[in-house]
Amino acid sequence: MAVLARSSSPSSLSKLLRPHSVSSLRSFSSSAADDQRVLTIETSVPFTGHRIEPPSRAVDTTPAEILSFFRDMAVMRRMEIAADSLYKAKLIRGFCHLYDGQEAVAVGMEAAITKRDGIITSYRDHCTFLGRGGTLLQAFAELMGRRDGCAKGKGGSMHFYRKEASYYGGHGIVGAQIPLGCGVAFAQKYSKDGSVTFALYGDGAANQGQLFEALNMAALLDLPAILVCENNHYGMGTAEWRAAKSPAYYKRGDYVPGLKVDGMDVLAVKQACIFAKEYALANGPIILEMDTYRYHGHSMSDPGSTYRTRDEISGVRQERDPIERVRKLILSHELASASELKDIEKEVRKEVDDAVAQAKECPVPDPSELFSNVYVKGFGAETFGPDRKEVRSVLP
């Protein structure tokens, strides 16, 4: 299985280029190719399969890829921390759900797939957007409801989209995106372009009926749909075991195979996503359960400490943090020095601060945007003033 996985040579989200056939380069140990040499790293936790033989724990990667993982995750972490303070400064309105702690899922998934593969997710969508190639400025501008946001400032925190990278966006209602993802997968199957859709949902949404409706349809039609349960162990303020009779979410598809993955290990996520994509294209849907953790509360109004202990959070930070894991990996393989990594983090911090400053300068959308995109222009729609009689305007 590992051999097969390697041949699929996924593209990485990083700006660093990676050759298509990694193994062929291994013999030419030129200095330029040094950071492209293949490293095989074993995941610390084995995959657990449900009705399926799990993939190998040995994951192929390159120094360049590992360094890009570090950087990408550091950007995401920093962005979420900045969003936290912007929310507290009341510059972000609406609701805001932060992803810090779960970065390995977004980054590992991107490393395994192409931008033609679809991703659809819930309202915890900022980092997935960055993973799909969105910029920090677009993200912050959208968070603050500004014109340069990825949805023109009309969506806000829960509604990030990026069509050119097949990012079907953030959805506000728990579990609602899963059937949508299956619809996207059907269109992909029809077009026979070898792409799949990753429909992400949380452990809370795993108890929604529509998941099972969508799963049944996907299995009936053999859709290339990969249902990714980002299990951060708390559905809002309720622990998974209080909300789910069986918290083994990878098994809950019953007739649909599943795979349990250490979602704090970016390499494990990558391996699982390569495996799942291949499986889904050949056989139909599969469930991936990513065992992960969110450091922040469910949303900004949740301090995140009433239903779990602070010790639990700091324990995860110390032992399972996805960024620290990659940092250790880099240091133990001597891919970069500790001070070089610090420099990367400083750089990231500046990048984020600059994007925040730029987004703050950004103007709010034009008032006419309130009425645009409700209907398609020119199809007879008309809008009214408050009294519905005197003031009328044609849709912009």
């Binding site: 309105r93 609406g94 609701f95 309202y123 409801g145 400032g153 009309k154 969506g155 806000g156 925190s157 829960m158 509604h159 506000g172 209602i173 728990v174 579990g175 809370g204 949404a205 108890n207 929604q208 009926g209 529509q210 559905g235 809002m236 303020g237 309720t238 209080r242 909300a243 789910a244 109004s301 949740d302 009433t306 239903y307 709010v364 959308p365 008032p367 945007e369 309130l370 009425f371 409700v374 809008t383 009214f384 408050p386 009294d387 519905r388 009689k389 005197e390």
Partner: protein, 399 residues
């Protein structure tokens, strides 16, 4: 008053029988014995009272065959059944602290968390209520109620079947009718926060009340203040019909009012004239009442006397009170946060145009949300604000 007290204590003992009173329950308008509390505390008080007055009795430890045989008798005595509160995170107090302390006092068997599954919550509540219990289900935000929409429609009229797929609209609303009164889920109350908060964005601000007003068999109730909320919620809980209680979340902390500490109920389907006037009738509900009131005050400065009516129950609504007022003033303005097209204001407008056609001196005005999705930016443009209402008052009065 003594009779009322006696009735109330009798009601405690015969809780099922006491459900038939919504039209005739006592009204306590003067709240002189109350403490100033905010809206979420008032709701919390009401829930405490509801659980307290509808307790689990010794009888319900009896199970199986005996219970089955005794159901008829027990139904009449009403002592087997019990009130429950459940929903997402309610055991810890809920996101708006409305259920704080309930689990500690009444136990985790009566106050419990559910998974994030709105259709499941409401369907479950219908089943629980169909067994004669008072099921008080919470949907965390009214914006999340749509997965449970189907179930709500069922609660009114349905032949008993094992189907559980539909919820509010197909199950709750039709249970009694389609079973020829053999079954009902009258003990069902769905509590859910609705409306704008100033920065809620698309999915934490909507006002979906009019969808539910299209369903005969449901009651839709929206309070305007803490005192109203407590009395109306207790009425909803004890009403023999399934009801949806929309709580104005903007007012949870903002609205503070003296609320009597004791058990009281306010009548459903009875609008309240909260301000007498002669030039124009203003009708609204929930959080919009405070906006309308401000507009009344402003209008009064310009010599326009507004009569302000809080509809309180949307279905079945108190047509008589509105009609009587319009017959007096000859003009009507309706205001709600939900988009104007297809909002409940349209129903009021049509009914009044029909029954008071010859008395109307100006077209009925509707100052409501715009026909756009609830926006993240420009919420103030969307909202039926005081100035918009004031403009419309003047336009209507000077028509």
């Amino acid at each position: 008053m003594a009779t009322a007290m006696a009735l109330r204590s009798f009601g405690r003992r015969t809780s099922i029988a006491a459900r038939g009173f919504s039209g005739s329950c006592e009204t306590e308008k003067a709240a002189k014995d109350g403490k100033p509390i905010n809206l979420f505390s008032a709701i919390n008080q009401a829930l405490h009272i509801a659980l307290d007055t509808d307790p689990r009795s010794v009888l319900d430890h009896l199970v199986g065959y005996f219970l089955f045989r005794c159901r008829l008798i027990i139904n009449r005595v009403g002592s087997l059944f019990c009130a429950y509160v459940f929903g997402e995170d309610v055991r810890f107090g809920g996101v708006f602290r409305c259920t704080t302390g309930l689990a500690d006092r009444f136990g985790r068997s009566r106050v419990f968390n559910t998974p994030l599954c709105e259709q499941g919550i409401v369907g479950f509540a219908i089943g629980l209520a169909a067994m004669g219990n008072r099921a008080i289900a919470e949907i965390q935000f009214a914006d999340y109620i749509y997965p449970a929409f189907d179930q709500a429609f069922t609660a009114a009229p349905m032949a008993y079947s094992t189907k559980t797929e539909d919820s509010i609209v197909n199950e709750a609303a039709k249970f009694r009718y389609r079973s020829g009164n053999e079954f009902n889920c009258g003990g069902l109350t769905i509590r859910t926060p609705y409306g704008a908060v100033g920065h809620g964005g698309h999915y934490h601000s909507q006002s979906p009340e009019s969808f539910f007003c299209h369903v005969p068999g449901l009651k839709v109730v929206i309070p305007r203040s803490p005192q109203q909320a407590k009395g109306l919620l207790l009425s909803c809980i004890r009403d023999p019909n399934p009801s949806i209680f929309f709580e104005p979340k903007w007012l949870y902390r903002l609205a503070v009012e003296e609320v009597p500490e004791h058990d009281y109920m306010l009548p459903l389907s009875e609008a309240e004239v909260i301000r007498q006037g002669s030039d124009i009738t203003l009708v609204g509900w929930g959080a919009q009442l405070s906006v309308l009131e401000q507009a009344c005050v402003e209008a009064a400065k310009e010599g326009i006397s507004c009569e302000l009516i809080d509809l309180r129950t949307l279905i079945p609504w108190d047509k008589e009170t509105v009609e009587a007022s319009v017959r007096k003033t000859g003009k009507l303005l309706i205001s709600h946060e939900a988009p104007v097209t297809g909002g409940f204001g349209a129903e009021i407008s049509a009914s009044i145009a029909e029954s008071c056609f010859l008395r109307l001196e100006a077209p009925v005005a509707r100052i409501c949300g715009l026909d756009t999705p609830f926006p993240l930016v420009y919420e103030q443009f969307y909202m039926p604000t005081k100035n918009k209402i004031l403009d419309a008052i003047k336009a209507t009065v000077n028509y």
